[in-house]
């Protein structure tokens, strides 16, 4: 659905997107992550044909977004980050206008506007002036606009930006619902959202793609994966030595600040694929060291994100 090859965008004095290449298949839901200024919005704007690229190509549904822009844009439903709307219009008028602009005619306008208002919960406010809508409803209207012409690809730039937790949950469930019908490229700062909604994650930093995999694989590749936390009442040096003597343990470190009333915490780095938790439990029982915690650390997407974006 999306084919991006060596896409580059240079502004005066800086390169916002630097030789980016990736593909998104039909039906995929891809999270596009990166810190502020990483190049996410610029990439999305190029995909929607709004910004021309300095170099490289981008195709949407087989259409070049630069040379065959109008056809490419017909396949895209785009929701920009700031959700710009015409404040003087009524909700239903705005959607009618957008539907007609996107090529729908006559009865198709009415049907599709009704459909997206049902889908996004805008029916109750359809006669309201856009200026009077709350942030949550504005966000829904932006989403309804992106959906109204049944695009094959949805590009959503920070769709939950500025929403309260309940609204975030609503938008998230809506995106999950949409993922059955559309290919979705979604940019967000909320990583839990990506873990819940996206089956693939692309992390962009300083204009370059730094990671591209499933959230699970990325978490597995994190430095904090393959670690154990052990807390027991034991002398630090002796316990460290004993732990390092066990098979599958690469390194054990006592955490000094965690020493409290004789309780000592250890961080244990494991060899790839090793799980020596039973041996550790056996060791503490044999040495008579009371064991309070033995936990395998689960790396999160947040860990991966922080590692990648703070690496340089």
């Amino acid at each position: 659905m999306i084919e991006v090859q060596h896409l580059t965008k240079r502004f005066v004095g800086r390169t916002a997107v630097d030789d980016v290449s990736f593909e998104v298949g039909k039906g995929e839901v891809v999270g596009f992550l990166g810190p502020n200024g990483a190049g996410k919005s610029t990439t999305m704007r190029m995909l929607t044909g709004y910004l021309p690229a300095t170099m490289g190509t981008a195709r949407v549904a087989g259409h070049d977004v630069f040379s065959d822009s109008i056809r490419a844009r017909r396949e895209i439903g785009y929701m920009p980050e700031s959700v710009p709307l015409y404040d003087e219009m009524r909700v239903v008028e705005y959607l009618n206008f957008r539907a007609a602009l996107k090529g729908l005619r006559g009865r198709a306008v009415k049907e599709n506007v009704g459909r997206v208002m049902d889908l996004t919960g805008l029916k109750d406010v359809q006669r309201k002036i856009v200026a009077s809508l709350s942030k949550g409803y504005r966000q829904r209207l932006g989403l309804a606009d992106a959906l109204v012409h049944r695009p094959r690809l949805l590009i959503l730039d920070e769709p939950t930006n500025g929403l309260d937790p309940n609204q975030i949950r609503q938008v998230r469930s809506l995106i999950a619902q949409l993922s059955t019908e559309h290919t979705i490229l979604i940019s967000t700062h909320i990583l839990t959202e990506v873990e819940m909604v996206c089956r693939r994650v692309i992390i962009i930093h300083r204009g370059k793609i730094r990671a591209d995999d499933t959230p699970e694989n990325l978490a597995r590749s994190s430095r904090s994966a393959g670690m154990l936390t052990v807390e027991m009442k034991a002398p630090a040096e002796e316990a460290t030595e004993a732990l390092q003597g066990l098979a599958g343990i690469r390194r054990a470190t006592a955490v000094p600040s965690a020493a409290n009333g004789g309780w000592q915490q250890f961080e244990v780095k494991l060899d790839t694929g090793a799980d020596p938790r039973e041996e550790i439990a056996e060791l503490t029982r044999g040495r008579g060291w009371p064991l309070r915690e033995l936990r395998a650390n689960q790396a999160t997407l947040e860990d991966v994100f922080v590692e990648i974006t703070q690496r340089d």
Binding site: F11, R45, G49, Y50, I70, R73, I76, Y86
Partner: protein, 251 residues
């Protein structure tokens, strides 16, 4: 073409939903009404060389409100869209930049034409009241409306260009006014020079807007200003298109 009309209708709705449009319309009607009644009073006092049409469209006070009209109409056209970010959602729909530009420009043209319709009604009412006692010079009326329309196209294009250059409506208005004033002053300068220097005469025939309105209001239709304003309008609209593309590319 369909996309153009969808955008044009939307723009016209936006125009007539904006309070500024109604304030401009009301003020303009009041000024034109006053101008018209002064013209009648002047003609009632003693016989004049100039017709009622000339007194309505060519008096000195005409230049006190005419140049302000265009920035008020055009200032929001692109500046507001750029400020609110709606230009992004507009140009990521299957719409071309020139369609957006022309729809906005023609909505301003339609509003401008609507502004002048009441004055036409004043002449109609006067003719009806006098019922053949006084004849309104039809040629002068047609000429006046023609030149107002053609110069209007040109000035609205200048205002559109100013609005495309900035995100701020006030700056767009000031810039638009500056462009129009500059064009007017160049015309006045050339007219003054032409009195002493013959070589300025051909230039004057093209650029002196004051002279154009005066000659058209007397019923004299000259094709040179028509060509000048039409080609100028097209050139400025092309420039506006390029400015919009440039601003989009560097956003």
């Amino acid at each position: 073409m369909r996309t153009f009309f969808i955008l044009l209708i939307k723009e016209l709705r936006s125009f007539f939903l904006s309070p500024v449009a109604w304030v401009v319309l009301a003020m303009f009607m009041a000024i034109c009404g006053l101008s018209f009644s002064w013209s009648i009073n002047i003609l009632r006092e003693k016989p004049q060389d100039q017709s009622i049409v000339q007194w309505t469209f060519v008096p000195v006070w005409f230049w006190l409100y005419y140049p302000f009209l265009f920035p008020l109409i055009t200032m929001r056209l692109f500046a507001e869209e750029q400020k609110l970010g709606t230009l992004e959602s507009l140009l990521t729909a299957p719409v071309r930049t020139w369609q957006v530009m022309l729809a906005k420009y023609f909505s301003a043209v339609i509003f401008y034409v609507v502004l002048w319709l009441p004055v036409l009604a004043y002449f109609g009412i006067l003719t009806w009241i006098l019922r053949g006692k006084v004849e309104i010079p039809q040629g002068a009326l047609v000429g006046s409306y023609l030149i107002l329309f053609i110069t209007g196209l040109f000035h609205l294009a200048l205002g559109s260009l100013a609005s495309a250059l900035t995100k701020n409506q006030i700056i767009a208005a000031i810039l638009g006014f500056a462009f129009i004033l500059l064009h007017f002053l160049i015309g006045v300068f050339v007219m003054q020079q032409a009195q002493d220097h013959q070589e300025f005469r051909p230039i004057m025939d093209y650029v002196a807007i004051k002279g154009h309105i005066e000659s058209f209001a007397s019923g004299l239709l000259d094709t040179r200003p028509m060509v000048y304003y039409t080609s100028g309008t097209l050139f400025i609209l092309m420039l506006t298109h390029q400015v919009l593309e440039y601003r989009r590319w560097k956003s």
